[in-house]
């Protein structure tokens, strides 16, 4: 098991390879469809949202306020990443992201940006909302809550030992591309 702590150095990211299991500690910023389109169109982030050397998490969590008025994440698995393919490469390059967490993998443009900027795609287990919520120790802040709505807002989360698998690395390798190729070839045999 490889441990990653944010902020993450390029060196650490370049050492990762497809198939590596990692555990992440530190800060994750959630960002999904609305956030990606917003940034792509030149939207400006508040100063507290510092993505450099950091990780964006494709996730629309369930977040409740407890009796003391504190936010608490009660369910937080990944959402399908491929929808962000039109925007992701630009955001990796412009903001200096080191990691993108999601599910289902992404396409060639994102893979290229990972190679160029030193970033990896980290696959979390889709649907594992409770196991992953347990790794969230604190909601540090939330941005665009009213404008984007709760699932689409930017939640700044402190996490401990958040499990994921590297499925696209910074050397041009993609597990998704490989599995698609082998499964297509396999299917051809049974048709």
């Amino acid at each position: 098991m490889i441990h990653l702590t944010t902020p993450i150095t390029e060196e650490k990211i370049r050492a990762l390879k497809v198939g590596d299991a990692v555990e992440i500690s530190g800060i994750l910023f959630t960002g999904r469809d609305v956030v990606h389109k917003f940034l792509h169109e030149g939207g400006v982030l508040p100063a507290e949202v510092n993505l450099r050397d950091g990780i964006i998490y494709h996730c629309g969590p369930v977040v409740m306020k407890d009796d003391a008025g504190q936010w608490k994440v009660t369910a937080a698995g990944p959402t399908t990443s491929i929808r962000e393919e039109p925007y992701q490469s630009q955001i990796i390059n412009d903001f200096g992201l080191r990691g993108v967490i999601g599910k289902g993998g992404m396409g060639d443009r994102t893979l290229e940006a990972c190679k160029k900027s030193g970033c990896v795609y980290l696959h979390a287990i889709g649907g594992a909302a409770q196991v992953l919520a347990e790794c969230i120790t604190e909601v540090k802040s939330v941005h665009f809550l009213t404008e984007f709505g709760s699932p689409e807002a930017i939640w700044e989360l402190r996490v401990k030992n958040f499990p994921a698998v590297v499925t696209m690395d910074s050397h041009g390798q993609s597990l998704h591309r490989d599995v698609f190729a082998t499964s297509s070839a396999e299917l051809a045999k049974y048709l």
């Binding site: 198939g19 299991a21 609305v34 996730c59 629309g60 969590p61 369930v62 409740m64 009660t74 369910a75 937080a76 698995g77 959402t79 399908t80 491929i82 599910k103 289902g104 993998g105 696959h123 287990i125 889709g126 649907g127 594992a128 909302a129 409770q130 196991v131 919520a133 347990e134 984007f148 709505g149 709760s150 699932p151 689409e152 499990p163 698998v165 499925t167 597990l175 998704h176 599995v179 698609f180 082998t182 499964s183 297509s184 396999e186 299917l187 049974y190 048709l191």
Partner: protein, 292 residues
Amino acid sequence: MIALCNSLVELVRRSSAELPDDVHQAVLQSLQNEKKGTIAEAALQIIDRNIALAKKKSQPICQDTGSIIFYVECPVNFDQPAFVQAACMAVREATKKGFLRQNSVDSLTGINDGTTVGLGSPSIHFHQHQQENIEVRLILKGGGCENVGAQYSLPNEKLKANRDLDGCRKVILDAVLQAQGKGCGPGILGVCIGGDRASGYEFSKQQFLRNMQDRNPIAELDQLEQDIVATANRLGIGPMGFGGNTTLLGAKICAANRLPASFFVSISYMCWAYRRQGVTLDQKGQIETWLY
């Protein structure tokens, strides 16, 4: 009304937090079938832990609590508008309690008012029967798996799929191939052969009301179901598309009549977080028994 609303909140809670036994059994079986020490096995272990944790904490199995689809079997004199009202109240309440995510967005303005209630949410299908009992089934179907649903119009030249069962088989397996990784596999297919563009998808979703372990009473369809699962599991797509032995947990297929000019195959994909429950209600709206 209050009793009915409370019952529906409980139905939503249990659907969202507890995977039905038949589905859980299928997940456990798939865990057995994966090679030890692989990331596929690790993924299923996390899934199994997640199922237990959600039940224990009475919190959503998955944060995407999905489209809320009620199927109501009711007597002829049943008050449908009252049920609709109670269901909407129950959805608001379940959202406040965190059993549902604030999950309904105005498609024009992009506004999420936080209630999860709006045109189409929840969706409620009534079916009257000549009996006195009331049965309410609920499916919560996530967006990730809904997005990988597919509808094919046969013949399909690219896939060499003609208007016969072999053609159906080809397009269903193509849908499995295309869905890989995206819909939180291992998945379950609901398929309708025939119908029109709307009814085809509708019937395909109703297949998710069936028990995982049941067998199709129509021999050709039963054979097709078994074949689709066995073949899909030979493709090496695996849980989450990580590679591995379990790509599908099941396939449920029905056939509906079609127009001579049309031949649709409609495929709905359900993720492993297959949330479905059902209850019978008494005249006051109180829960009598659980159906799954």
